[in-house]
Amino acid sequence: MDFSYLMKIAGPMLEGAVASVGLFFICIVISLPLGFLFTLMARSRFFPLRWIANIFIYVMRGTPLLLQLLFIYFGLPVIPVIGQYLRFGRFMAACIGFTLNYAAYFAEIFRGGLLSIDKGQYEASQVLGLTRLQTTWHIILPQMVRVALPSLANEAITLVKDTSLLYAVSVPEILHYAQTAVNRDLNILPFVVAAAIYLILNGILTLAFKQLEKKFSYQ
């Protein structure tokens, strides 16, 4: 186990890590607001909106992410007539699948956060003349995020690990390069390196969420 071998395998794996990190950020940035939108829809007074949100959440949480990825990448293009318009690139298909799936989980986490907020916060906002939008943005959202943060951190860490599912739609990522190297060289080291990369990424994430929790604490 010499250093030059380590460098040789780490290069492509770090390249793979770029795909994972890219997917992570795209997914987080889109699915958080999308999830909150679904939370609001699920609480809407307008029944069809509620219905759409609840079915979406049920399907996305009730089926494997792997199936959803395969469905989007391999399944959609073979639908008669409209299938030809639903052909996505590998990475794009993965982004769509991950974003929709995580939005459903985030929607449920936010719902839990909203449940924890006292009715009095809404009443105080109302008598102080805040509109519903102002109340949501200035009063409810910050309190909801504080409650939701630990669960969000949990999901974010799961997301980092789930990026290994890129493998299923043949986007080369960390695990792909590790597996190739292990088969080729009959050496366990690439798996160890892969694990190390995931641990480092999640270590950074854990620290970041600790900071966020500090920022949002109001004790």
Binding site: D118, A124, Q143, Y218, Q219
Partner: protein, 249 residues
Amino acid sequence: MALIQVEHVKKSFEKLQVLKDVSFSVNPGDVIAIIGSSGSGKSTLLRCLIHLENVDGGSITVGGKPMVEQGVYAPPAQIRQITAQMGMVFQHFHLFPHLNVEKNLTLPLHLHDKSLSKAECLQKCKELLQKVGLLEKLDALPAHLSGGQKQRVAIARALMLNPQIMLFDEPTSALDPELTAEVLFTMQQLAKEKMTMVVVTHEMEFAQRVANRVLFMDGGEIVEEGTPQQIFEHPQQARTQQFLRTALH
């Protein structure tokens, strides 16, 4: 002319009728204490005044403008305009826990009137905190205040929007006995400045000393109404007499 006119207001929760044909009026400068046992409908009545509850029937007019007429509500914009003349203080304060005292006071005013500068909002905030004796708590988070301090901040917050009428829903009921005095003192100061106040309270002494009119409610109706002297010293109704026997001892 009456500042608030309530006529034949009715309100039910499911099958339980909590307000049965309630009528009364509030004149400018009045300090009205609403007393009565739990479940008598007094809090619901107060909440109807500021549209936290919808009435099922009757009329409420504030400052000459009808908010609801014979069970039919005005358009939302008009309701907002009408309720904006009132400030409300809750039993459980309902300060915004994620904002410090300064932001609790300035945020609503800032959102309400974008033309005001930050400095103007802060100036007003400081004046009102001074008035309730909590200027030094400007940067504190609500979690770091005592119950009495929280309620005084809540009063200052309600005053930020220059209400003509202040509504208090059992403002001292959630406080330890030794903390009620500071809140009652603040309210007494307001009364001295001729603020029109409607106070739902269990503090009989406060009702006796500060109010100029007392309403006794029982079973969803106003059973008796009069000056503190009339109500506390010469109650006419049997129900009032019975309530006061238990409440005053």
